[in-house]
Point group: none
Chain length 227, copies 4
DNA sequence: CATGAATGAGATTTCATTCAT
DNA sequence: TATGAATGAAATCTCATTCAT
């Protein structure tokens, strides 16, 4: 093999990255959007190091120069993609309206959402994976992302407080730790799905396997939360 | 900036990769070992794509040509490093003798071990992270790694059975799922420590944060296992 | 493919290069001979530039160092192989005893021999091919090869003279030119057999094609020689 | 000596490869053409394996990267050079208008052309030589070259038919075989000119030698064709 | 006589980015 | 705004040859 890169063919990027959209001559907004989507797909497929600027431009049906025009350079483009990905998941989360649900139902819904979001947005995991390999070098430059999680943590805190008051939940749970555990129980399964599948000799992405895992994740968290 | 790679300087690789060991002229075994250790450090620092063959040779105090002599090429070297890493964690696990402990104590010990192994071997996470970016392309070629986890699963199964018999644990727990959950609750914290720290505005690698997290991980799993 | 070389896999080298012969410890003559045969095969397969010293040593079942011990370096080894190849064809030629045959029969035998020698010793063509690419750089250093052809030319001269005297042949033929024409009519077919086969969309190495060609070569030369 | 390659300095490439032409900034067509010409010269000088990509770029006055931009890689560039060489000789052939000449005159003209083309285009021989060392690996990928020879064969067939009708030629001659013989009688002289010159202790590229050989080639073919 | 580990120079190829139009 | 040709630096990998044993 000639060159080794971070490539991981066929990782898929969900429905966000469909056709590159028509060439869009003289439509700056369209061009910018095309590049961003193409970059999301490419970075998710191959990681930051493995992604190719030429490939992104081609996927976007745009000229390479435009990429630099709109985003500065490859790394800044990566950050833009990251921010976009975080915005998406936040948008989805806020639409859950967990505060309107009873504690146990709300908690179950939150776990379900977390699990299924990762099922449908594998690119998100791959982006975070890449970014952590780089020690969050890019994210640290972002001003917007820091505030993204306060809302989520507030929601979890609200569920925990209401649940404890009603006697549904134990009362010694820290929202931040629980958030990490919920995510971890779901995320690790997907972030390491290839090595786990290989080691266990099973296809963890099969539909049945996913259902089993989702049920287990819910059982672990709710089981822990019992008073 | 000229070339962007998967570099993430100063990630550290634990105590395994100390000095490159004396030049060791005409000591094939030593040379091979030096290269393997240097590669572990380099791959963990920078990922597969970001690692530089020249750098590995230099770290190993060996000639670049030797790397190809002993390992074929960069990717096969990466696989050798992966196998070595898996062997290490397995070796540590078998030394736990969990079957000799009471169920709850054994389970607590297992979680503790899992958590602290990741604290002390951050390179392991980074290697798995890289390998999953590549969809376990290398690991799939390995014949040895598949059997590594059967022992661990047997141990967990033994703990669960004994615990259920004594009334310490609930009796509906699947060992494989639990293994993934234990690992996930610990692993995610470390694999995403940089993005999490950034988003939360806190240093999750601080000693106090680690202690809090370890206690929480134990609480989640043991809480869930309550009958 | 990683590196481009003069390789031409599976060109075959006839019966001279059979098994590498037993390791031959402490049998200098045997070792030398093994290396020479292995080199013949390797050079014929891949040309001078494409041949690999390691490969030759391996084919010979000998240590690489021995190669340098006996032959100095790669280029001198190539020359040794060339000389050996020329000696072989000369040996075969002198065994023809053309001077004992009638002119027409002798000439036919000579063409037949030339044609069939090339059929059975494709390595010879490939060695000459390589050497001419290098402008006979090696052969020019050889003291032995220059005298090799005087005998052949004398034989042809003898055939021509006797044939002209009997009225079988025209009497204006230069032996040297005829030698080149006989060889050329046969040689070109084989030296360019791959490009010719490709261009003509036929397999010129098929048995029927060879028979047709041999008959034609004889017809051309004997037709020309008619008085 | 460090590395041995297929180099054969100073082989010359005829008048096609003169000066590298002005740098030609921002003239893609010119750049492409410059690279192609430089590659022709370099490949003819040193063979496929011996040719150096750096050297080609330098000869072309172009950046090395452009070579890959326009031709993919070294081997594909070699194929492009081969196709170009075949196109040239075909173009020259069709300009002969042999069908307008009387059979004997036409045949003589064809032999003359073949002989003199090889005199003036030694690079053509060296390219074919290289390609045959590689078993026409590249040419087999070409779609265009297969049809190049049908025209030539048709011309020869036409000459033979007309000649036989007029009683100038014998009537049992296969055009394909004759084509190979004409080319062989000329080609071998040049393809092996270095080894032949060495063995015979004469300079076969001297003007007198060339004239002698040309006359002989014509005599052989026309002598054979006599009814 | 024999081994194979070690080496330095250099090969092809890749890539993010800039420049001329 | 948009194009894609051009670039320099650096990456992986190769190879004939020598050295220590």
């Amino acid at each position: 093999m000639a060159a080794v890169n971070e490539s991981a063919a066929g990782a898929g990027t969900g429905s966000e990255t469909t056709a590159p959209a028509p060439p869009a001559r003289r439509d700056p907004e369209r061009t910018r959007e095309n590049i961003l989507r193409a970059a999301l797909a490419e970075f998710a497929d191959k990681g930051l190091g493995g992604a190719r600027v030429d490939e992104i431009a081609q996927r976007a049906g745009a000229n390479k120069r435009m990429l630099y025009h709109y985003f500065g350079n490859k790394e800044d483009l990566f950050l833009a993609v990251l921010e976009r990905a975080y915005e998406r998941i936040r948008g989805a989360e806020t639409r859950l309206h967990l505060t309107e649900l009873e504690p146990i139902a709300g908690m179950r819904e939150l776990i379900r959402f977390t699990f299924n979001y990762l099922v449908e947005a594998p690119h998100f995991i791959r982006l975070l994976n890449s970014e952590n390999l780089h020690q969050a070098r890019h994210l640290k430059k972002s001003k917007r992302v820091r505030e993204l999680h306060s809302e989520m943590l507030a929601m979890i805190g609200d569920l925990l407080r209401r649940g404890a008051e009603r006697g549904d939940f134990r009362d010694d749970v820290d929202p931040t730790q629980l958030f990490i555990s919920i995510t971890g129980v779901c995320y690790f399964y997907f972030s390491n799905i290839h090595t786990l599948s290989t080691i266990m000799g099973a296809d963890l992405s099969a539909k049945a396997a996913l259902q089993t895992r989702e049920a287990h994740a819910i059982a672990v968290i709710l089981g822990y939360l019992r008073p």
